[in-house]
């Protein structure tokens, strides 16, 4: 693959990656959030492939494969197994701040992340880092923002996983020589995270009949119910 084509493809993937992060902020349905997360993971994997192909980095290709296996396939499967289907069919998930304002705040965060990334890019030696690093930071911030704004457990989990995705996305461009064992560890970490939070949410749902974290402020004794 010629270098220019590689970097413009990577830039396209980066733009779409950023768009999926925005969509995670504003999407209302749980199912929509999950779908966006799947798209984002596929984009992450394709970015890893694009960066790993030209000077061949086997690590990156392996990372892409692991990502393709775990995030778009295993994690949604675990979540669907662990949660009752009703959570996914709920149409509207409440947001603390309305979607339009959220989008504007998210834009501000993105611009901020470009300013943060600019001094860091001086030391970067690859062409890909100029795209991946700011978008990765933006994804991290947007994931954190989503985590803060959402009130439901499942979108919060997905936001957490988005943050992990974004950190990975920035990481593959800055440090393509990261040992594969750490990548594997992180991938399994995400799996375990999804599993644990999934089970926890299931338990909460069984106990209280909903998964709204904001409504879990008071504890009730079982005998009184």
């Amino acid at each position: 693959m010629p270098h220019a084509l590689g970097s413009s493809l990577n830039a396209l993937v980066g733009g779409l990656f950023l768009l999926t992060s925005f969509a995670m902020v504003a999407t209302r349905q749980v199912r929509g959030c999950l779908r966006m997360f799947i798209y984002q993971s596929i984009l992450l994997a394709s970015s890893a492939f694009i960066i790993g192909v030209h000077p061949v980095y086997w690590h990156l290709i392996a990372v892409g494969m692991i990502n393709l296996l775990t995030k778009p396939i295993l994690i949604p499967w675990i979540l669907r197994r662990a949660m009752p289907g009703r959570i996914f069919t709920r149409r509207e998930v409440s947001l603390t701040i309305n979607a339009t304002t959220s989008l504007l705040i998210a834009l501000g965060l993105t611009v901020l992340s470009y300013f943060i990334a600019r001094p860091l890019l001086v030391t970067a030696h690859t062409n890909f880092a100029t795209v991946n690093l700011p978008i990765g930071i933006a994804g991290l911030l947007l994931g954190g923002y989503t985590l803060a704004v959402r009130r439901e457990a499942v979108p919060q989990l997905l936001a957490l996983l988005t943050m992990e995705n974004s950190a990975f996305y920035a990481g593959i461009a800055i440090a393509p020589n990261l040992p594969i064992i750490s990548e594997l560890a992180v991938a399994f970490d995400a799996l375990v995270l999804a599993f644990v939070v999934g089970l926890l949410t299931k338990l909460i749902h069984e106990r209280t009949g909903h998964t709204e974290v904001a409504r879990l402020t008071d504890l009730k004794e079982e005998a009184k119910q």
């Binding site: 493809l9 396209l12 989008l103 998210a106 611009v111 600019r118 100029t130």
Partner: protein
């Protein structure tokens, strides 16, 4: 020079003549998707013919604004048609008069007069629809601006003919993230501005839910015909800008050859047919948004535009 003037007039005539045709194809395709037969694709021409032969009724209370508005709404998009590349890839005689920003302003004047006329007639549904139309268009405005800024960053100009040259230089610039995102944002603008389904339902005749349609409620006869035709021409012009400037500037006449210019007419119509199929797919697969969700739709368009600009400014 004479050729350029003649082609420019031809361009305006083509826009006038084929705008109802495209509206007819659009309506027919939508009906086919809903497994109905639908009206003939020439139905808009018949509607116009019928309306032009009817008497006009004007309210006693209406002022001159009410009478002038149909002409403004009809002529404004024709002015824009002089400025943009419809048939040729080189600037024609009147193209120096304005850039894309100017085109936006001219279209905005038509919208302004339509709003005034809707309020003028005193029909209670008119002002309601007019205020909704204003809401949609003031949300569209920033998206328009961001799209134009990004385009002018890329091309170093806001003249549509220069912008159009910029995208075709290499496939790398065609697939650049800013370009793809700008296309997306502009598509969302077209959907909002021409009153298509996620924003507005053009075939709904229920006054309380109307947005774009309500501006023509009070008109009859010639006025109604001009408003309708003007709306169709506006949709045609917006689609022309989208196709010939931003997406697919191919198939236009590159030389002043008469044959090439006439050959460009069917080619442009073919491209537009493709775009209409995309739009019909979008319209048939989505539900109409509630009024206060429109701001989210256009907010998404704005974000897409700004992301395109950021990607352009910082990454390259």
């Amino acid at each position: 020079m004479t050729a350029k003037i003649l082609y420019n007039i031809l361009q305006v005539l083509v826009v006038m003549a084929f705008a109802p045709f495209m509206a007819g194809i659009n309506a027919r395709l939508k009906e086919i998707v809903q497994s109905k037969r639908g009206p003939s694709i020439f139905q808009p021409y018949r509607d116009l013919w019928k309306l032009f032969h009817k008497d006009e009724v004007v309210s006693e209370r209406a002022s001159w604004i009410f009478r002038v508005t149909p002409y403004v709404v009809f002529i404004a998009p024709l002015f824009v048609a002089m400025l943009i590349p419809v048939l040729t890839s080189y600037p024609l005689f009147f193209a120096f008069m304005g850039d894309m920003l100017g085109g936006g302003f001219i279209l905005a004047i038509a919208g302004f007069f339509a709003t005034l006329a809707a309020v003028d007639a005193g029909n209670p549904y008119g002002p309601m629809g007019a205020s909704r139309t204003r809401m949609v268009s003031f949300l569209v405005e920033p998206v328009f601006m961001v799209v134009f800024f990004t385009v002018s960053f890329v091309a170093g100009s806001t003249i549509p003919y220069i912008v159009q040259q910029q995208w075709v230089i290499s496939p790398a610039s065609f697939f650049a993230p800013s370009h793809i995102l700008i296309m997306l944002a502009f598509l969302m603008i077209i959907i909002a501005e021409t009153g298509r389904i996620p924003v507005d339902n053009p075939s709904g005749h229920f006054e309380l839910a109307m947005i774009d349609e309500s501006k023509g409620l009070e008109y009859s006869g010639t006025g109604a015909a001009l408003m309708k035709w003007g709306g169709e021409i506006k949709a045609f012009v917006l689609m022309c800008i989208f196709l010939n400037v931003l997406v697919a500037p191919w198939g236009l006449a590159g030389t002043g050859n008469v044959g090439a210019v006439f050959l460009a007419i069917p080619l442009v119509l073919m491209k537009m047919l493709g775009l209409i199929i995309v739009l019909v797919t979008i319209e048939s697969s989505l539900a109409k948004l509630r009024l206060f969700r429109i701001s989210e739709f256009l907010g998404a368009a704005f974000v897409t535009g700004v992301v395109a600009m950021i990607a352009r400014l910082f990454a390259l």
